[in-house]
């Protein structure tokens, strides 16, 4: 069993228990972090997220977690953002322009076009555009579970995989220690489990194979 401390940022997101359960299945234990103190000394950081961008950023602010999160990420702590946790990495989102994002990556999260049904909810495939840590040993044809109406539409130089719902959008990104997925690996069956295992391996966390 690993002694690496994985902090799971707890801002009240509904999917936090699911992420915990998924990690537990692979023998990794995460600690819920809802204050700056609980983030200290963590060696891996996971920001799960569902719901509203403004609510996430507001709650992180109230918990005084914004600066500790930014500084941990800048220090090089391996970070995994899930769904809204990916969007939070950017400077802002059109979902709620009154709240700034973490600003680790530059750009604005935008709504998906309403030419397709929204939310983009269900299982979709991804197209790899760069070699990826997260998608290692994941079959090309795999489906992942998505549930969102906003997305990063600008691929920048961080996207490793794209998906498509009316327009192409960033499905997975990797930038040094910063990794993030728009889909829910904790809800994406075996393909999602492999993504989580890949993150744990990247973070140096020993888990069960």
């Amino acid at each position: 069993m690993s002694t690496t401390k994985i902090a799971l940022v707890d801002y009240g997101a509904g999917n936090l228990p699911s992420v915990e359960r998924a990690l537990a299945r692979m023998g990794a234990r995460a600690e819920r972090a809802s204050s700056a103190e609980t983030l200290q000394g963590c060696q891996a950081l996971i920001l799960p997220g569902v719901g509203h961008f403004g609510a996430l950023m507001r709650t992180l602010g109230e918990q005084r977690l914004l600066e500790p999160l930014r500084s941990a990420i800048r220090r090089g702590v391996p970070f995994l953002g899930i769904c809204l946790g990916l969007q939070a990495l950017y400077e802002r989102s059109e979902e709620d322009p009154s709240h700034a994002g973490l600003g680790i990556l530059s750009g604005t999260v935008e709504p998906l076009p309403n030419t397709a049904k929204l939310p983009h909810m269900g299982w979709n495939q991804v197209r790899r555009v760069r070699p990826s840590v997260l998608l290692r040993d994941v079959p090309e044809s795999s489906f992942f579970y998505f549930a969102h109406s906003y997305a990063m539409l600008d691929m920048g130089d961080v996207a490793v995989a794209l998906s498509d719902h009316g327009v192409p959008f960033v499905a997975a990104l990797e930038h040094n220690n910063v990794l993030a997925v728009q889909f829910h690996p904790e809800k994406s069956g075996e393909a999602g489990a492999q993504v989580l295992r890949n993150f744990l391996a990247f973070a140096g966390v020993e888990g069960r194979p």
Binding site: R25, P119, G122, W123, Q125
Partner: protein, 254 residues
């Protein structure tokens, strides 16, 4: 890349055990929810719905325990509902392990509930369940497990629910439910064409051709069934391979 059409087994429970009935009546025991959940997770279900069909009032601890036991088994999304009437009830169901909650009777009585839940948990977590029955050239909404007529038009109610913040519609044909006479494709197409969110068709599934029809003629985004899966009439793999061979995008192999 295309969004896959989803196949969703449904566990109707009395809170603790899976039950089966025909047209919302004559319930009988059909097994342990966690065991069925584990089986469907393994066999390639895209999502699972678990409902407490006996609860129209207070939220019961036995059902929350059932949600926890079911969630424990799943690496796919879980939708739960039955009797949810307030934001705090929604929160405990989500915290117990559901990814989405359904609202039905309480939303008809107080439509503002949909918006309250949607603002709190996001539209993607709020599923408006509609039980509809044909009335002449339209479909009428029924509540309280199909017992009470509301006079509301099902298509108009679906549109109002989406405008208020529902992220998905779970549409059950009361005429077909439990009859194994096929999905109501006309009802499903009418609602699917009228709203901007995904529609889950429910009620009447029998043959694998019924699923093909509800995806092609009914324009459903997902199809839900209970007894035909519980009773092993069709395996998920047989169904998905059939659909894939007919050009329907499905998540297979899972």
């Amino acid at each position: 890349m295309t969004l896959a059409r989803r196949i969703i087994p449904c566990l109707d429970t009395d809170g603790a055990r899976v039950v089966k009935g025909v047209q919302f009546a004559n319930l009988r025991d059909a097994g342990d929810p966690a065991r069925l959940a584990a089986r469907y997770n393994r066999e390639g279900a895209d999502e699972l719905v678990v409902l407490d069909i006996t609860a129209s009032r207070d939220y019961r601890p036995t059902f929350l325990e059932t949600i926890e036991r079911v969630a424990e088994q799943l690496a796919i999304p879980l939708t739960a509902g039955g009797g949810i009437g307030a934001v705090e009830e929604g929160r405990i169901v989500l915290r117990a392990g559901a990814d989405k909650i359904t609202v039905n009777t309480a939303a008809v009585r107080r439509p503002e509930l949909i918006g309250e839940l949607s603002r709190e948990f996001g539209a993607q977590a709020v599923v408006l369940a509609i039980d509809a029955k044909r009335a002449g050239d339209r479909w009428e909404v029924f509540v309280r497990g199909g017992r009470d007529s509301t006079g509301r038009d099902a298509v108009a109610w679906a549109q109002e629910g989406v405008a208020r913040g529902a992220g998905e519609i779970l549409l059950t044909s009361m005429d077909r439910d439990g009859t194994r006479s096929g999905f109501d494709c006309a009802l499903t197409a009418a609602v699917s064409g009228a709203v901007s969110v995904p529609v889950i068709a429910s009620g009447g599934a029998d043959t694998i051709e019924d699923f093909l029809a509800v995806f092609t003629e009914g324009h459903a985004d997902a199809a839900l069934a209970a007894s035909i899966f519980h009773d092993h009439l069709h395996s998920l793999s047989e169904l998905k391979q059939f659909l894939r061979a007919r050009g329907v995008t499905v998540r297979w192999p899972a």
